[in-house]
């Protein structure tokens, strides 16, 4: 329904203004409040940078004990909310390597429970109800894509282009999230980068002891989206098949 109204508004504005309107995409940021305010305000800066970029709207910036996203209705969740209702999502939360195959995180489903079952997630337009819109999800959390864990996430690539997170215990500096936004949008003196490039350039670097050991890992639908996707240049209906691409970067030594 929301999409129909949006499409109707686009048609009406085209007729009234006589020109092609700018497309509207949404972004969200959810930060666990265990990180302290400096990192929340960094996420706010990220949202502000993206929101100021042509065609993007901030739909949600939350600061709660748990960074919520969503779960398929078929798995007793609320579908198409949070991450799946936004083209770009940024979720910032702790992740614990508890020795299990996958990593326990503070990213939770809106109906409660830790995300200890990535198999229940389907992101993007090709999810079971064909209604998701997510294109990229950044998970700033530890160990989420360690070697034993990331295969469980591949099935969630159902239309979303890339899931971007880390293999090991990520370390970041307050200001990194804003820099990620600036690299994505080509502001603050940075040239615009691809989504892949902006993520790796921000978090995997040899400029500071803090970034030196990070191992970033991207799960992508295919190598084309990983190579070319930019925040204002992407194909929302990319073909979904069973072959996925994994790119790892780091450590920087």
């Amino acid at each position: 329904m929301k999409r129909c109204i949006g499409a109707l508004l686009l048609v009406l504005s085209t007729l009234i203004l006589g020109s092609t309107p700018v497309l509207a995409w949404d972004e969200m940021a959810a930060v666990t409040n265990g990180y302290g305010t400096a990192f929340y305000y960094d996420a706010v800066d990220f949202s502000d940078v993206i929101d100021a970029y042509s065609g993007w709207n901030e739909s949600l910036t939350s600061y709660t004990p748990y960074a919520s996203w969503w779960k398929e209705e078929s798995e007793y969740g609320y579908d198409d909310s949070y991450a799946d209702d936004n083209e770009l999502s940024l979720l910032v939360a702790h992740g614990n390597d508890n020795g299990g195959s996958w990593t326990i995180t503070q990213i939770v489903f809106p109906n409660g429970g830790n995300l200890d079952d990535p198999d229940t997630v389907r992101l993007g337009y090709d999810s079971p109800d064909n209604d998701g819109v997510n294109i990229w999800s950044f998970f700033i959390t530890c160990n989420l894509f360690k070697d034993s864990s990331y295969p469980y996430w591949l099935d969630s690539l159902t239309g979303t282009h890339m899931l971007l997170s880390f293999k090991n215990s990520v370390v970041w500096i307050s200001g990194d999230l804003k820099e990620l936004g600036q690299r994505l949008t080509g502001t603050g003196g940075f040239s615009q980068e691809t989504v892949q490039g902006a993520f790796f350039s921000t978090f995997v670097d040899n400029d500071d002891e803090a970034h030196y050991y990070n191992v970033g890992r991207i799960l992508a639908e295919n190598d084309s989206v990983a190579t070319y996707d930019e925040i204002d240049s992407f194909d929302t209906q990319t073909t979904v098949d069973s072959t996925k691409t994994i790119i790892s970067c780091g450590p920087y030594y």
Binding site: H94, G99, E209
Partner: protein, 314 residues
Amino acid sequence: MKKVFFPLLAILAICSIAATSCSQLAVPPAFDDIMQGGTGNPDVEIILGTEFPVVPGSLPVYRIDQSLFDNKDVSVIAKKLGFNGDPAPLKSGEERAVYSYTNGTQRLEVYPYGRLKLYSSVSLSDIPKNLPSDEECINIARVWLIANDFYPDIITGIKVAVNKTIATVDTETSNSSGDIPLSKNISFFTSIDDFEINLPKASIAIGDGGEVLDASVNFWRFDKNSSFDLKSPKTALEILSRYLSSPEYNPPEAKECMTNWRGFQRLVINSISLRYSIRDNGFMRPFYIFEGVVYSTSYPDGESFVGSVDAIAR
């Protein structure tokens, strides 16, 4: 009046000297501005497989010049590397942290505190088939640095590493290509006061045809600050152990300690060294670097471990 005036001046002068001295000594805990995720494992087993190094009682901290490059310097570097256009513009009210240039598929960033980064965009469909040997990569990197007058005066070590890989996985069959190297990274290290600097002075990524894909070069210029007493290596290990076994997300040790893995079951430490490194672009300061292998039921074959502990005694 004169009698009152001079004591006042003296007090002001003493306060001024004290303030200057305090600002010179103000070196914050190494990791008080970062965030590291996850919790430790109270049952972690830490095995010391090496001896503690012999270290001095104190070492100086260096302050990094934050404005080494002016606009003209930046322009000279950009032109030298073939970037003849203007840097990416700022919007009204934005502060410039970096000068960024693009030239076809390459991008250059120059930072006023004395750093450049060169990036190349490559298609991930073009999987490298024959990356040059390590020796060939070292030679290519050396030639590129010399040609651009970036070759370090003192080199204390060279490391070759694959730091970017690609893999494909079929979710129906679980067949995987395995990690395929996209480039080889050559890092050149230097030293200060006979101690190695942990971050490379220069780092060059070499691609399939022997081309330089990415590069980072540091032109650090630093002034010697005060000297500080050092923790003993044993004290540093105790801090590392408390951090790794703490069930809290941010225990007090997190301000002085940083690790690339946490929450594992077993750590075998193979090396402890005292090195300088950089935090927050501000200070070149001493750290104990603990290296080894960590084991967990989810990575039973082990992962490389690095832990950095602030070496300054507090």
